[in-house]
Amino acid sequence: MTTIGMETQVTAPPRRRLLQLDAPAIMVLPGLVFMVVAFAIPVLILVADSFRDASGLSLAGYRKVLGDPYYIGIIWNSLQLGLITTIGSLLIGYPAAFALSRAPARLQVLLFALIFLPLTVSIIVKTFGLAIMMRRDGILNWLLLNLGFIERPMRLVFTEFALYFGMINVFLPLMILPIYSVMRQLDPRLTDAAASLGAGPVTTFLRVTLPLTMPGVVAGISLVFSISVAAYVTPGLLIGDRFMTMSQVMAKAYLNIRDFNLGASMAVVMLVVAVTIVFTSTYFAEPASRRGRKG
């Protein structure tokens, strides 16, 4: 907006500027207004709340959240949850996106639907389904028993295995979609050119495919990390209080103990963590992503 305004200023007298808003400026307006109302204002209230309690200005919330080993452990849990979910989704999602982009057109539509479909199912439904599947008499135990991997049913629900299994299941589509959309725009002749120059499949992947699909990877990582680090429903249902996360602390602070100062402090810490990780990953991938763009 500022740049547009400045450019207009150069060419037109300032008085007529408001009437001369150009198309991009007008198109960004609804989104901007919405984001101010729905995001910026609540965040400001949250930040304000984090610095005051009933008695006025206070840093009690931050002292607790950043000083108490219990809460530091919870921050660490959330980070771990976000990181493992992101890495797991990336390791499974990248090859899947590659295969998807190279599949015959008709199969691609089908596979795409299969990846997209889970997104239309409520997370609660999906997670309950997983919980049922992982019960002692669930299908997963039945399978492992019959394949001879285990001798008696294992405890699966309320373990970290269940947690990450469920998290990756929920977030995988969000990793695949951005990578796939970049991957399918990758000119297959670039990999042909690499091969004709003597590069084997590994070199071609590392020096051509990966750098050129980096923008998709960064988008996927940012998306999955920032949402999974704040996940509430899935950890709650699949592992519960045994693995407390920042979201659960916030929910408890606001809903149970009504300590808004604590909840807001935790929320601000989470926001800072997520924003930092997203920007760092974008920064490190920036050279590749900038060059990877077409044209």
């Binding site: 042909d192 050119a193 091969a195 004709s196 120059l197 020096r207 750098p211 060059r291 990877g292």
Partner: protein, 374 residues
């Protein structure tokens, strides 16, 4: 262009018997469609061959098979006696210049050219010098640091050539490398590339559907149609003695007249009854087809005026159009009995000739080509 033509003529005069690249009975199918059918082609060492043919006839497919970017459904591909049919692309050492260059957008000009050397683990100390040499060959040293997106089409084309040549390929394949360039630049690049490849003695296969480009650049031309090679010969052979009606139609201009051939007429000639009268063709040139045939004549073989002797065909036709080309003038005649026009080329338009005039035309029976109607 003259220089190239003369040099090409010289190259043709030296006999080449070696089969450097040997493609034997190669077949390629996509689903139910057979795109290449039992195709054979041999290329001599340091020869420049053009693959010429209409869109969709399988030129790119043949190149991809030779490069190893695709596996054939049958047949054999060998270079210098080594069977490469089962060798993957990255172990074939065959350079490819792709239709839209396929330069790596995330690398600079220099890095693009160095890519092949690095992939083949060339000594670091050697890479810099070889990249500079390759860029010098295509006169792109000044652009070494540039990003690909900041280059013009012609410059990208040069980088693509440098990138393919720097690894010293045993064969260079070029898929319509000039199709994105304007005509002037195209003609310059044709000559430049031809000189470069001849100096380096690189065996090359060059795909184009521009017949002029093929005639100008090639030692030999392979004319393709529907997945087959219909004729493989020098530009002169392909132009003057087309092996089939398709080759006649595809390479150069020609007038084609449908008719019925009767068994040989006087003196070993064949007579063809056509809507514009009887046309005679020499049997020495044609294999003596009978029944429904098509007669073909090149425009520059037809002259205005009465025939000078018995060895010529003569007709009278009304002049419909005059098309001025600068160095030559094309005359189009439209006999009432014929659907197509008769095309004639003259160096100078005789004075007093105007559309509507009925003129006599003649051409040698030795230059009259006859093909069975397909």
């Amino acid at each position: 262009m003259n220089v190239v033509a003369r040099e090409a003529a010289h190259a043709r005069a030296t006999p080449r018997s070696d089969r450097y690249l040997d493609v034997a009975a190669v077949t390629k199918r996509f689903g139910a469609a057979t795109v290449l059918k039992d195709l054979d082609i041999s290329v001599a060492r340091s020869e420049f061959i053009s693959l010429l043919g209409p869109s969709g006839c399988g030129k790119t497919t043949l190149l991809r098979l030779i490069a190893g970017l695709m596996k054939p459904d049958g047949g054999r591909i060998a270079i210098g006696g080594n069977d490469l049919t089962q060798v993957p692309a990255h172990k074939r050492n065959i350079g490819v210049v792709f239709q839209n260059y396929a330069l790596f957008p995330h690398l600079s000009v220099e890095q693009n050219v160095a890519f092949g050397l690095e992939a083949q683990r060339t000594l670091k100390a050697e890479i810099g010098g070889r990249v500079q040499n390759a860029l010098a060959l295509v006169r792109m040293q000044a652009f070494a640091e540039r990003r690909i997106s900041a280059l013009s089409g012609g410059q990208q084309q040069r980088v693509a050539v440098a990138r393919a040549l720097v690894v010293k390929p045993s064969l260079l394949l070029l898929d319509e490398p000039f199709s994105a360039l304007d005509r002037k630049l195209r003609e310059t690049m044709q000559i430049e590339l031809r000189h470069l490849l001849r100096d380096l003695e690189i065996t090359s296969i060059f795909v184009t559907h521009d017949q002029d480009e093929a005639l100008v650049m090639s030692d030999r031309i392979a004319v393709m149609n529907e997945g087959r090679i219909e004729q493989l010969g020098t530009p002169d052979e392909v132009y003057s003695s087309p092996a089939s009606l398709h080759v006649l139609e595809f390479v150069g201009q020609s007038t084609r007249i449908g008719g019925t051939a009767s068994a040989s007429g006087q003196g070993g000639d064949v007579g063809i009854e056509t809507p514009i009268g009887q046309i005679r063709a020499s049997m020495r040139r044609n294999s003596g087809p009978t029944g429904k045939v098509v007669v073909g004549i090149r425009p520059e073989c037809i002259a205005l005026g009465e025939r000078p002797g018995a060895d010529f065909n003569e007709i009278t036709a009304e002049l419909a159009d005059i098309v001025f080309f600068g160095s030559k003038t094309a005359l189009h005649f439209k006999p009432p009995a014929m659907e197509d026009r008769i095309q004639v080329e003259v160096a100078r338009l005789p004075s007093g000739v105007a559309p509507g005039a009925a003129l006599k035309l003649h051409w040698p029976i030795a230059e009259t080509m006859v093909y069975p109607t397909p």
